[in-house]
């Protein structure tokens, strides 16, 4: 690893100031992604600002919403009683990600900020517009089995790797941010972005803006939910396709539903049209199939990942069947 300067901060304000003052500094939280990327030479910061001592670890109920501090650990959130009662889908998605050792280090904010696992991004010898704008996308005509089928651009077909974020986008979470211009909030759907012409930007944060926490509104999805992750091995692997499904039922009728997909886009992929199709309909496999067809509109494969065009709708149907007890 290339050496770097190191500093610790104890307040969000100091964290923001330290980053704004240093053009090539990075915040360090759990480090499970950043330290790895530094070892690979993908990111070479001159300075690391250690934010692990900021008081942002709290998990609490706040005005009926669940508030989770940005530095709460993945494992602590997944096993927290309040989270399990209020937002069991989030707990399930968190436990599907990484390994327990990594979950014991990784933070909620860091999970949102993790970079893609695209092998072209991860190798500084390869072209990658995300790592180095203007060098091209190696995956476009290369080995793209893990890559996106929705929302791609010619500049980038990488996917966002998080499981947690798929649940959070389905659950209408809000991201709490503090920065040089003060505090702001942003809906989870608008936090991550599609590559467009600027794949180097994973999200809509401005430089110096720090995630302080997330909020999740209460909902009626505590009984019927599932996170289904399809991958090359049963555990400890990134998703080929994953689906977060949350349903509220009245008898057999779908009152409300939330659907999101992972492993298919540059951002957590919310399926609003498929949700709208299902609302008011009965929870039947035939309806789930039709919803999956709606969800797949506009999907495009790039060769090695064409299998996702079949795997994705099937995963959606299975997740809905499990969530509604029809499996």
């Amino acid at each position: 690893m290339i050496n770097f300067g190191y500093t610790r901060v104890t307040t969000p304000k100091a964290a923001v100031e330290a980053l704004v003052k240093n053009s090539n500094a990075q915040w360090l939280a759990g480090g499970t992604n950043l330290v790895d990327l530094m070892k690979k030479g993908v990111i070479v910061p001159q300075n690391l600002i250690d934010i692990n001592n900021l008081p942002l670890k709290e998990i609490k109920k706040d005005n009926g919403k669940l508030h989770i501090g940005a530095l709460a650990l993945n494992s602590d959130v997944a096993e927290n009683d309040l989270v399990r009662q209020q937002q069991p889908l989030l707990s399930l998605a968190l436990q599907a990600g990484a390994s327990q050792q990594i979950r014991n280090m990784a933070t909620i904010g860091g999970n949102m900020m993790q970079r893609t696992r695209c092998s072209y991004f991860y190798n500084p010898d390869m072209p990658c517009n995300k790592r180095e704008p203007g060098t091209g996308c190696g995956a476009l005509k290369g080995f793209n089995r893990m890559h996106a089928i929705f929302g791609t651009s010619e500049k980038c077909i990488a996917v966002h790797p998080s499981d947690m974020c798929i649940a959070l986008v389905a659950l209408d979470a809000t991201v709490l941010i503090t920065g040089p211009k003060g505090e702001r909030r942003i809906s989870f759907q608008n936090f991550h972005r599609l590559p467009g012409d600027a794949p180097q930007r994973d999200n809509t944060l401005e430089r110096g803006e720090l995630i302080t926490g997330i909020e999740i509104p209460d909902n009626a999805f505590k009984d019927h939910f599932h996170y289904l992750k399809i991958r090359d091995r049963t555990s400890y692997a990134f998703a080929l396709v994953s689906v977060a499904a949350a349903v509220s039922l009245q008898g057999d009728t779908i009152q409300d539903v939330r659907l999101a997909m992972g492993g298919v886009a540059h951002k957590p992929w919310r399926l609003v049209e498929a949700e709208n199709f299902l609302k008011g309909k009965s929870a039947s496999e035939a309806n789930f199939r039709q919803a999956a067809a709606v969800a797949m509109k506009g999907a495009q494969g790039f060769g090695h990942n064409n299998f996702k065009l079949k795997l994705a709708p099937n995963t959606l149907v299975e997740a809905l069947k499990t969530a509604t007890g029809k499996a």
Partner: protein, 213 residues
């Protein structure tokens, strides 16, 4: 081939050296550091919070390893794994992939299992680290070590320290209630020899035995 810096964090026209200097200017402590040999610095007196270490500056670090208080001085880039193996000659903790993909370097920090290859040592000020060397008491093996021997839970042995540390964590967390759950919660530890069935048996037996782990 030259390694390239991430584009989002380069300021045009600013040389790396200049960037470092600006960073250092923020710290009043550094003038003192520049004239003080590291050996004379005591982390406890320094209060490193909101202070900066320069590019090749060693950072004072006080932590406990296997019950022993350590006063160290380390470069920021040193991982806990390299600190243990290269600086303290505690080679029980193994370097497998060095990228957080195999679990061979699993240790406990404040009682929780973590990957030492992705933990920067400087972030562990005041923490308690337990490695495979600290698991037994004197000549008395830890129950998990005994179970691994009994059930032949290893072949080449390279992943074993990480497996054992992880297995102890697995039981402490309450995630060893069935073979299926053990497999899921041990998935962060890869065994190239495929000793998994016996590793699962060993952990299940220790769990069933109910001894304190």
């Amino acid at each position: 081939m030259a390694r390239k810096k991430s584009p989002n964090h380069q300021q045009e026209g600013q040389q790396p050296e200049e960037g470092r200097r600006n960073f250092l200017k923020q710290s009043t402590l550094l003038t003192a550091l520049a004239v003080t040999p590291p050996s004379l610095l005591k982390a406890a007196e320094l209060r490193w919070d909101e202070k900066a270490a320069s590019y090749f500056e060693k950072v004072p670090l006080a932590l406990e390893i296997n019950g022993k208080a350590q006063q160290l001085s380390v470069e920021p880039r040193v991982t806990l794994l390299d600190l243990l193996r290269e600086h303290l000659a505690q080679t029980g903790t193994k370097k497998g992939c060095d990228h957080g993909q195999c679990g061979a370097c699993t240790v406990h920090v404040d009682g929780k299992r973590v990957l030492s290859c992705l933990s920067l040592a400087v972030t562990l000020e005041g923490k308690k680290v337990t490695t495979i060397e600290g698991l037994s008491t004197g000549d008395q093996l830890h129950p998990m070590q005994e179970a691994f021997i009994k059930h032949d839970g290893f072949q080449c042995g390279y992943c074993t320290p990480g497996q054992i540390m992880s297995g102890v964590g697995c039981i402490r967390e309450g995630h060893a209630n069935s073979e299926e759950e053990i497999r899921e919660y041990m998935s962060g530890n890869i065994c190239r020899c495929g000793a998994y069935p016996n590793i699962v048996k060993a952990i299940a037996e220790v769990k069933k035995g109910g001894q304190k782990v």
